[in-house]
Symmetry: C2
Subunit: 410 residues, 2 copies
């Protein structure tokens, strides 16, 4: 069968690790599978390249950064082909232009539009293991665009989708999805099976084990996705379509510290104000989360929301530049916040889960700044310095209350 495997930067950080991964790949190949491999740049290569650019120009153009950064994945791919040859197996490396990974023109954060399959299929038919440089595409001008940090996952899922792969394996340095970050919560348990929706929420909520768009794309194209460790033979976590279950608990907890709170204070209370603010953000592709609107008086209201920390500066200057149009009194912000979220299919029908969270936070003296809920998640905004304490307290409480699900039954 055709298997797509993706290995992250830490899995290919040096020669020994590349050789280790080459052995894994050839083991899969030896069993009679066709194998397509997607690689990230080695270890810190991307950061080193960014530092090189920053040393020259702090505001380097995104087009040129994409030209620069995309070389990291091409290097990994070539080195892996070289390692597989050493193992005695046929392999060929291809970059985005050679494969034909067509992406939108937004440099630094492009989306894959379509992928040509001719070259990869031809190489698979020549019995080659095909190594594809992740994280990159080419736009209609033939220019290289990158797909955003961590987007090699997306490259892998997209390839699995267009090639009709039986399985897409994402290898990282963790052996699966956990009920909470095991570096912070000691008792965190590995999840064997999780639904796409829950995984999507965990990923977007800062669990960081899998790129968000990769999960969305896997769900849309029904790609069977497995998250596994490149260092062990453990089974990992299978991510798949939810089956109907009667009773679902919490799947996991996620903490996102990479956010900032922005409050627009004293907006005149008439229709269209929220639209005006958020369309500004949308135009700059700034993703907004946790929106809260409070009415102060009969005539003004405040709107508070969170944005990624990296977008805070842009957000504030956008709002300032449009102050006269929006007509607000003041802006306030806080970039020392964190979002703690509990995710689980069907949680909406069990608000005990929310109250248990609030109780745990109260018990450990953590103040809640904002709350939002959806059908499968509860998120609270808290002070960043409280985050580790909070996630441990909530995890402990959910364990006591047997709130963590039995996702094997999904």
């Amino acid at each position: 069968m055709l298997i797509v495997q993706k290995y992250g930067g830490s899995s290919v950080a040096n020669a020994d690790k590349i050789v280790n991964v080459a052995k894994r790949i050839t083991n899969t190949f030896k069993k009679g599978n066709k194998v397509v491999v997607v690689l990230s740049a080695q270890g810190d290569v991307t950061d080193e390249l960014l530092a090189k650019a920053a040393e020259i120009n702090h505001e380097a153009s995104k087009r040129e950064l994409d030209m620069l950064l995309s070389t990291g994945e091409q290097q990994s791919a070539a080195l892996m082909a070289i390692a597989i040859h050493k193992e005695g197996y046929p392999a060929i490396s291809l970059n985005a232009s050679q494969v034909g990974i067509h992406a939108t023109r937004k440099y630094g954060n492009a989306r894959i539009k379509n992928i040509e399959t001719e070259r990869i299929t031809a190489e698979l038919e020549r019995n080659n293991i095909v190594i594809v440089a992740g994280f990159q595409g080419v736009n209609r001008y033939g220019d290289i665009t990158t797909l955003g940090r961590g987007a090699s996952d997306t490259t892998a899922v997209a390839l699995a989708a267009v090639l009709g792969a039986a399985l897409c394996e994402i290898y990282t340095d963790v052996d699966g999805v956990y009920t909470a970050d095991p570096r912070i919560v000691k008792n965190a348990k590995k999840i064997d099976v999780i639904g796409f929706d829950e995984m999507l929420h965990l990923a977007s909520l800062g669990a960081c084990v899998l790129h968000n768009r990769a999960v969305e794309m896997a769900q849309r194209y029904r790609v069977k996705l497995v998250l596994r460790s490149s260092l062990s033979d453990a089974d990992g976590t299978l991510i798949k379509e939810e089956s109907k279950v009667e009773k679902v608990y919490v799947s996991g907890l996620a903490v996102d510290k990479d956010i900032a709170r922005v409050s627009v204070i004293g907006i005149f209370d008439r229709p269209g104000m929220a639209y005006q603010i958020f369309s500004l953000m949308a135009r700059e592709k700034i993703s907004i989360d946790l929106i809260l609107q409070a009415i102060n008086s009969n005539t003004t209201k405040d709107i508070t929301f969170t944005v990624p920390k990296s977008d805070l500066k842009t957000t504030l200057s956008l709002l300032e530049a449009n102050r006269s149009i929006i007509g607000f009194e003041a802006l306030s912000y806080d970039d020392k916040v964190a979002k703690l979220s509990a995710v689980g299919a069907g949680m909406a029908s069990n608000y005990g889960i929310a109250s248990t969270m609030f109780e745990a936070l109260y018990d450990c003296d953590v103040n809640i700044i904002m709350i939002t809920t959806s059908e499968i998640k509860i998120s609270v905004l808290i002070a960043e310095c409280d985050a580790d304490k909070a996630v441990n307290a909530v995890h402990e409480k959910y364990m006591q209350m047997s709130h963590f699900g039995t996702p094997n039954k999904l």
Copy 2:
């Protein structure tokens, strides 16, 4: 006017040097010129990438090495565009695939077949400074092939030719072509103007200041070529078509230590033996130099020749593998040899130049292993350990005898 500039790896080795080169480029641009820049990989990047590959596999495939190495030039090009933007000028980097630099399929040592001009012309019309990754092309399969070490010079000359540039400036860390290597010969003088043929001989004889194929191509397409230092504003050396001159002396001396002597001993003396041996080498694209044939007896002869050191192993095993066909008695070789050459247009008509060289070598007790002469050069093969002493002695003698030419009059 349109100027093509090429900067070598040492000229862009770090952020400061890149910024320095960016200023040179924008100075040319500010004067109203259109500028196309060709760059090598930064400093030791190519060697570092080769070391990475060798750590994994000592016999890495040439296709994959080309995928790997070509990233070095792409990085330089992107970083230079970023530096030029910082200076406040428009620039765009392009790799071989984006430009359309079509090359033969021989990985590691491909030749440029043709270059598309549409993209570069369009970018120049948008008033961009165009930065092209040197050293690389794409073959008919869309795969990357590199053009051999030092071949960014060739990329620059080829671009100058197809774009009809008024001038092609090759910037290095030396300020021109010298009568001998100034690191070895203290009294070496800079040459202001030199003919293509002589330059070609100096380059291929190990003077190493300019890539051989670049000079050939400049001659064929009548590209005006200047070799200059990226660190000073000195005039450099102009390389151009020879004009007819009455009296020509020696242009310069070159030493090539990267060669090995191979002797095929006791070959049966019948027609076609030399062809048999050298066609073997030709098939592997091993370049042969200094061929000498001696007759031992009525029935056998010896053939001695030199090859690049890197081809010695292949040469010996090729000969061994074909021993029964060629029918020789023994092979001998020596990789501790050097070739000392004197080059000058019209030297053929002045054999005083040869005898002066032999006298200088005799005076300093250097044994001559082989001698060859052509219309514009005399080469002697000597022991590698004698090379520095020999070039100094010959240079000194030529100075005394006023044998060095007055190339300004070319």
